[in-house]
Symmetry: C3
């Protein structure tokens, strides 16, 4: 089977389990953004993040494929029973990692200008792409056609990516730059 099947040339495409929908369907849009997020994590890894972060990113990329498969499957489709399981432990693992990293990092009480090392900068970018994917997933959650675990996963992941960006800088001795808002104008 060739990689290019041309089946999508007219603007519609297939879900897992078989239904066909237009490519601008909210569902396709949502897992398309998860695919973009996954690619952005690949970009981060190309910038040689600290090995511990790289291993985490590898795991997250793997998990995101399960998230993507779940999103590509209408909850009531027969195919749903063929899906690999979305594990709750993935979320608690992320929370534990954040708690652990928090001890290593200076306390944060301000926004920070995204950037620093190339890996940190790309992690911030991934954070914002993750949040975009979350925004696109929310209408599916509201319609009840994806499990709520998908949004929880993405919500936690964007926070983890923020913390990982900080760790990447911290371990490279690069200081995060705080955003100090100006005083409101009198009026």
């Amino acid at each position: 089977m060739k990689i290019y099947t041309k089946r999508g040339d007219a603007g519609d495409t297939g879900l897992f389990g078989g239904g066909r929908v237009p490519k601008d369907d909210v569902r396709v849009d949502a897992y398309g953004e998860v695919d973009e997020l996954n690619a952005t994590l690949g970009l981060v890894r190309g910038f040689s993040p600290p090995p511990e972060l790289d291993a985490m990113l590898h795991r997250l990329q793997d998990q995101l494929f399960t998230v993507g498969a779940v999103m590509a499957t209408p909850m009531d489709a027969k195919a749903a029973s063929h899906l690999p399981p979305l594990k709750e432990s993935w979320v608690t693992d992320m929370e534990n990692a954040m708690d652990r990293f928090d001890n290593e990092l200076p306390k944060m009480t301000h926004f920070i200008l995204p950037g620093g090392t190339q890996a940190a900068a790309a992690l911030h970018l991934a954070r914002t792409v993750c949040r975009r994917a979350e925004r696109r997933a929310v209408p599916l959650l509201r319609e009840g056609t994806i499990p709520k675990d998908v949004v929880i996963f993405l919500n936690r992941l964007s926070d983890l990516l923020f913390v990982m960006a900080r760790v990447a800088n911290h371990r490279a001795n690069v200081q995060d730059v705080k955003w100090i808002p100006e005083k409101p104008s009198e009026s």
Copy 2:
């Protein structure tokens, strides 16, 4: 003429041929995404892909400007006759390139974690941005206000970018990492 004309400060803008539309019009959104795709290809080229791929990317960037010009022109506008032609050979060239690369590459029967060399990682990112552009172009196709060749071009291009990512890794002796889904949970 200054680069900044300020004409768009109120939120509307001009199409090729003259009509004005709000900047959040589906058409503007769609060719804006093609612009972003083109910029992402520029980023790939900044990561020194193999020379053969770089030359292809140069050509694709050039073709995308024609695609963009076509998308920026309502099909019934007089300006349409001033457009450079969208060539069918661009699509068959992409198909031939994929067939040729396929011989060089190990057979693929699984998803792969996007990443590898910096060029490969950026090619995967470009692949997902291309698919986003395709999703935004589809409503215009449905309305019949862009030629179908635009969607065909983008559909084929995203597959080509996938194959090019694999080639970039293969020629750098970097192995693609397969996604092996876990067994579905009994239930």
Copy 3:
């Protein structure tokens, strides 16, 4: 307070000033894109742009947080009076910078293929992300729920990023490649 509050796990979130909205609300989408733009500027800075550009980018990142705070605050909210001011001088500063750079650069009468140095390529990417953010801000402007200065800022910024990309290449002795459209086909 932990970085992950889990408050957004159900798909809704808080604005500045206190109201809650779904995460796919146009307002959240719009400032989410500004966040992505800010992260993309961080990426540019990771590619070592010329020092003068780097200093400008630092300033722009700072300004974008004020833009983001303004966008995250419904214009009629009490919190609006606690916002740092969006300054008109930021726009005139950008215009002056463009005028100044224009003298240094060869005159431009064609589109250019986005790319060149890594910093220039990332600046083009930032330019297109800026324009995407602008597209998402426009519906809020139309509803009258953000000040018009937000769109003006983003409109001018995308032009500045174009010029900065050209400067990044020019100072690195990299020539921009023009797009020369083919002649329209007779018909």
